[in-house]
């Protein structure tokens, strides 16, 4: 909340507007303000971040005071109030990830990107952010890039994800250590035998 980010003109594209209308339609007439968070998200997806102009566009759309929209936008950390790179790398350093080695992940990411938290690489490809728990503790340590979770990270796999993204590829999201979702590492440990399944 220091120096405000330079503004960037914003207007809803027809596609965004259609999605916004769909969100507003979820609420009774006159309660359109309930859609404020959805519209801010739509604006962020369109612009990459939420500029002052976007706040005002949302406010105008919902007949709200711009201040009230800005309060919402500033309350939630997932709205980016300053521009971010093409890939927004959000790495969790909360307790579970910390215990599982997020410090090494952060070190690897910093070294790979050459930027610190809150900074964007010179080519505008990556912004590195530190975030609080993203609710994937069972696959700690983890990071979120765009909408995707990359879990069970090691410094090597974290670097590999970024390398792939830098090449324009989309690495497969989910656990990078090979296990399926949050199944036990090395395969199932219970319900392993056919006997357990009972006679059929």
């Amino acid at each position: 909340m220091n120096a405000p980010a330079p503004d960037e003109p914003f207007a809803f594209t027809p596609e965004s507007l259609a999605r916004a209308e769909a969100e507003i339609a979820k609420y009774p007439p006159g309660r359109q303000q309930s859609a404020v968070m959805a519209l801010l998200d739509i604006a962020q997806r369109q612009q990459g971040w939420v500029s002052q102009s976007a706040i005002e566009a949302v406010a105008a759309k919902l007949e709200m005071a711009p201040m009230r929209v800005q309060e919402v936008a500033s309350f939630y950390t997932m709205y980016n109030l300053r521009p971010v790179g093409r890939h927004h790398v959000q790495v969790c350093t909360n307790i579970s990830c910390l215990l599982r080695g997020s410090d090494e992940i952060v070190a690897a990411l910093r070294e790979r990107l050459g930027v610190d938290f809150g900074e964007t690489t010179e080519d505008g490809d990556f912004t590195l952010s530190e975030v609080e728990c993203l609710g994937a503790c069972v696959n700690a340590p983890m990071m979120q890039v765009g909408d995707d979770y990359y879990e069970d990270l090691t410094p090597e796999t974290a670097r590999a994800v970024l390398d792939a993204l830098a090449k324009g590829e989309t690495p497969a999201p989910g656990p990078q250590g090979g296990r399926q979702f949050s199944a036990p590492e090395g395969g199932p440990t219970t319900l392993t035998g056919a006997a357990d399944e009972g006679e059929s």
């Binding site: 909340m1 405000p4 005071a65 711009p66 201040m67 009230r68 800005q70 309060e71 500033s74 309350f75």
Partner: protein, 687 residues
């Protein structure tokens, strides 16, 4: 009607009453920061924790509705511990700068820290620091002191009806700020200084000039607009240091408009502190006896060709004395309507705010005619908004299309719409006539025009036709902008038989029919229109009138005299002297009394009591203090032709309406939109 027990005392309260309010009724004090009885409940400071039996945890009493059979304890070891914990958390980020904080000595946090604070902090990390915000020229911000009670945000949003202010960020990073750093746009913004329980929002014009315990407090009445708000004038020595509102549910609740609160520096500037007599075209200092002798000589020579015009802040004592003197001289050329408003002194109900200000809270339909209450009486406007927020008031306006801070139908800008309404042909007529308690507010914008009488007549017609006046309810209201106006009309300070009104006096002065004009702080008239007349100015400030005057007699401002004013509702109120007038200035009525002696027509009163007895003799309403006497309704105005010209509000610049506010640098800064100026880093040690 739930019945509950608080600290062993049983009380039955209305459903919806909170535990804190119930405790208050029993006289049990519960500490609080965010709760304020006139704002929505936020429940975010947690200072008001109480213990309620069968509840597992301490409860915030401000947000807990009283329930049947509740047993509440407000002072148990658990509660003391809980409040100590809350206090410790609040103090984690609060700076220890009380010695240089303007709130020091009257700070809720300071007081409550005495009761619940620890003698040392356990927090050794760095405290947070928050940059100052620009709230405009009236409110100083030291946001590091903010404890996020959000009273200011709620006030500006709910009461003032603006969405300028908000809380950005969350948790420890929350900051109260205006939208993109704009200044506050409300005419009521000064009230957030009073609301702020800490020193985050303080009085900017008065920054670092006083400590609250040095001030002498005088409870008096405001004369900066027609409302007559209850105020407290705080002085040190013979200097007004600040003006604060006093709670008065009948008039201003807890609020005060920015002009009434901040124009006081105008009381120290451009003051007339001695007599001047114009010789060879230049004002020359003179003694009282010299100046009065010159005036007496001219008046004697003028005979009956003497006229007097009362200004907007003239007290009733002075007007009564001048009226008596004019009668003694045989002149009927007196007028208290310097703006030319076509008000009649005959029927009291025709110029009062009959339904009373508190009555707005009963109204269910309202039409504003030629009035912009937001500028003419911001506190009254807040009352309309308060009623509107309940959803039970429908508002329409005839006049300029403006933002009144509440939604209203704009019916049109000219008198023709009023004529349609009065004739019953306008659709809004139905809303008014079907309403239980319909109201009309007629502003000076509708009256101070050549067809003002016809506008008044149509408004009265509408009042009759739509049933605005009925048993126990009079919805016909005139909103005055001048503190002196109702008093002047009550005293009959209007042209007598064969007398001239303001326009007539100016005509007479031009043609030579009027030889001497006495201006009682009247500065809003056309000074060029005074022609070659000999002008005597009796007033407090070197404004337009004094610049034109041939003799200047220094008078006292409203903070410097015990005087009577009648507010727009017809409420007779007395100011109390807080400071003495500067230099040789005297209470105005005493000057008139001295002048009468120089004229050989000595007025029969020597003391303030005598004059006030005389007031009551002229009009018995002056015998009733602080109350409102219902006035009988009747016909007023006339059915003359209406002009096509649209209504315009008499107030162009809210911050500069009278000699005092025009002399005020603070008001000049507001007026210049200095609102946008950036805040310079200033501390107590900077000059």
């Amino acid at each position: 009607m739930p019945k509950l027990t608080i600290d062993g005392q049983e009380i039955e309260v209305e459903a919806g009453t909170t535990v804190l309010q119930a405790a208050e009724m029993l006289g049990i004090e519960i500490p609080r920061f965010c709760y304020h009885e006139r704002l929505a409940i936020a429940g975010n400071c947690r200072m008001c924790l109480v213990e309620i039996e069968k509840m597992p945890k301490p409860t915030a009493s401000c947000a807990m509705p009283a329930g049947e059979g509740m047993v509440v304890h407000t002072d148990t070891p658990m509660i003391r511990k809980a409040r100590r914990g809350v206090m410790e958390l609040l103090l984690i980020n609060h700076p220890l700068d009380c010695p240089i904080c303007d709130q020091g000595g009257e700070c809720d946090l300071q007081d409550q820290a005495m009761a619940y604070g620890m003698d040392r902090g356990r927090f050794h990390e760095a405290k947070r620091a928050v940059s100052r915000k620009n709230f405009g020229p009236l409110v100083e911000t030291v946001m590091t002191r903010c404890i996020h009670c959000t009273r200011c945000v709620r006030f500006i949003t709910e009461v003032a009806g603006m969405s300028d202010l908000g809380a950005l960020g969350r948790g420890e990073h929350t900051e109260i700020t205006t939208y993109v750093g704009r200044a506050l746009g409300s005419e009521l913004s000064g009230n957030i200084i009073d609301l702020c329980p800490v020193g985050a929002l303080t009085n900017k014009p008065a920054a670092f000039t006083y400590r609250s315990w040095e001030l002498r407090k005088t409870e008096t009445v405001d004369a900066m607009d027609g409302l007559g708000a209850s105020i407290r004038v705080d002085t040190r020595g013979n200097e007004v240091m600040r003006v604060l509102p006093r709670t008065n549910d009948e008039i201003n609740e807890d609020w005060l408009s920015d002009r009434s609160r901040f124009a006081y520096d105008g009381l120290k500037r451009r003051r007339l502190d001695r007599c001047y007599v114009r010789r060879d075209g230049r004002p020359v200092e003179a003694s009282w006896s010299e100046a009065l002798a010159v005036v007496a000589e001219r008046m004697k020579a003028a005979g009956k060709a003497v006229a007097a015009i009362a200004g907007d802040q003239t007290d009733c004592e002075t007007m009564a004395a001048v009226k008596d003197l004019a009668m003694a001289l045989g002149s009927a050329h007196i007028d208290c309507r310097q703006d030319g408003a076509r008000l009649e002194a005959g029927l009291r109900a025709s110029y009062l705010f009959n339904s009373t200000i508190a009555g707005i809270e009963e109204a269910d339909a309202l039409v504003l005619v030629g009035s912009n209450p937001r500028l003419e009486a911001p506190v009254l406007n807040a009352r309309i908004r308060k009623r509107w927020l309940t959803g039970q008031l429908t508002v329409a306006a005839i006049g300029p299309e403006i933002d009144l801070t509440y939604r209203h139908q704009w019916l049109g800008d000219g008198p023709s719409v009023l004529a349609d309404l009065a004739a019953g042909t306008h659709p809004f007529f139905k809303v008014l006539s079907q309403a239980e308690r319909p109201m009309l507010i007629l502003g000076q914008g509708g009256l101070a025009r050549s067809d003002g009488s016809a506008v008044l007549g149509r408004a009265a017609h509408l009042a009759d036709a739509a049933g605005l006046v009925k048993d126990g309810w009079n919805g016909f209201n005139v909103l005055h902008t001048a503190a002196a106006r109702v008093g002047g009309l009550d005293l009959g300070f209007v042209p007598g038989m064969g007398g001239r009104d303001v326009a007539g006096i100016l005509d007479g002065a031009r043609s030579g029919a009027i030889k001497v004009v006495v201006l009682l702080g009247a500065d809003e008239i056309d000074m060029d229109g005074l022609g070659d007349a000999f002008v005597v100015y009796l007033g407090s400030h070197g404004d337009k009138g004094a610049a034109r005057a041939d003799v200047i007699l220094p008078g006292a401002a409203y903070t410097e005299k015990n005087a009577t004013y009648v507010n727009t509702e017809g409420r007779v109120q007395r100011t109390v002297r807080a400071v003495f007038p500067p230099g040789e200035a005297k209470e105005d009525w005493r000057v008139v009394r001295a002048l009468s002696e120089a004229l050989g027509k000595t007025l029969p009163y020597d003391t303030l009591d005598d004059v006030q007895t005389r007031l009551a003799a002229i009009n018995p309403v002056f015998g009733t203090l602080d109350g409102v006497m219902p006035a009988a309704w009747g016909r007023c105005g006339d059915d003359g032709p209406l002009d096509g010209a649209p209504f315009v509000s008499p107030i162009v610049d809210f911050y500069r309406t009278d000699p005092i506010s025009r002399a005020s640098e603070t008001m000049a800064a507001c007026s210049a939109g200095a609102a946008t100026q950036t805040i310079q880093g200033k501390t107590g040690t900077h000059g």
